[in-house]
Subunit: 204 residues, 2 copies
């Protein structure tokens, strides 16, 4: 049976995450003071630091859970992609971008991205980066799948193309997060246009 200590620890971890998610959502990342998060989670500030490296790590933990969901819904597209290359890419990026603002605000995304760049060695930063790798692989897999299905030319480096498409959409998402006015639809339109020449290249 699980020891008391392990259960208490798991419970506190959960309480801290829930408290933070709630406060980040209601008052924003900056305004959510560690003292308030700790109080809401019914732990002391010192205890918080036994569970997370710092305030940023906490945000990255929450964002990572989000990205895991996105990754999951991406799987659906990969397993049965539309036959046309342009359609398949549009479907995948739409899946990614439509998911992006359900739980997280642009401000939270910006902070998370900034933290993952600034402190790349922290545990949740590594996890966040690892998830990016999985997303990148997913795009590469889509290209490979289209090739296997005979819907895309086979004489092209699927990995190189996939990496470039992912890196582009990733950077465009950053631009999107930096601009409060831009709607998701605009982001999708821009990326679809950028993908067009490559879709043309791959078309059988």
């Amino acid at each position: 049976m699980t020891g008391l200590r392990a259960r208490q620890k798991a419970d506190k971890n959960r309480r801290i995450l829930e408290a933070a998610a709630q406060l980040f959502h209601t008052v924003g990342y900056d305004a959510a003071r560690l003292e308030d998060i700790a109080h809401l989670a019914e732990v002391s500030v010192g205890t918080f630091y036994n569970y997370f490296e710092n305030k940023g790590d906490l945000l990255l933990a929450i964002v990572s859970m989000e990205v895991e969901e996105v990754l999951e819904s991406g799987k659906g597209v990969i397993s049965a992609p539309p036959p046309d290359v342009a359609d398949a890419l549009r479907r995948l990026i739409t899946t990614y971008f439509d998911h992006s603002l359900v739980y997280l605000s642009k401000q939270m995304w910006r902070t998370a991205m900034a933290l993952s760049i600034q402190q790349p060695a922290t545990p949740f930063s590594r996890r966040y980066t690892a998830l990016d790798v999985l997303l990148r692989n997913q795009v590469c897999d889509l290209i490979a799948r289209l090739q296997a299905n005979g819907n895309a030319r086979r004489d092209v480096d699927a990995r190189a193309i996939g990496e470039m498409i992912f890196n582009n959409l990733n950077l465009m998402f950053t631009e999107f997060a930096k601009c409060e006015e831009m709607p998701v639809a605009t982001l999708i339109d821009v990326v679809v246009r950028q993908n067009a020449p490559i879709a043309g290249l791959l078309h059988v």
Copy 2:
């Protein structure tokens, strides 16, 4: 003649930038306390805040000067590019990346990137973003120039391709900055490989 006030102001601005550049370089961004920067620049902390919005803005000002130099040396490549598409792209990205660590450490780059994402509305953040746009245009111009010279296919959207190539190299530079071990040569190799399919697409 320039008023006394204007001269004093310009001088203080210069002193602050020099002091910060020196301390960021020697002890790193985080360890450079505002009090130390102000002291070295022979102004008070309060005065510092009449010249810059915050500590991050100061770093972005320094990084922006760097990027301006990179942009300048990029012009040389654009004006007389090698005829082969792949060669031309390699030449441009080598110019960019070789310049990147002359004055700035990876840590300084990471902090600058993080700040420009996190506080996109601050004056120097806007400037930094504007410089990114100029760099992106430079890549688009290179493609257009190759097309004009008859060295690249004309039936392809030069802007879409240029944006994608730039966004990819930009994101790869971020990955490079996040990984202390990666040498510039590796970065260049990876990006050249990623560019290869597109270079093939464009080849006449």
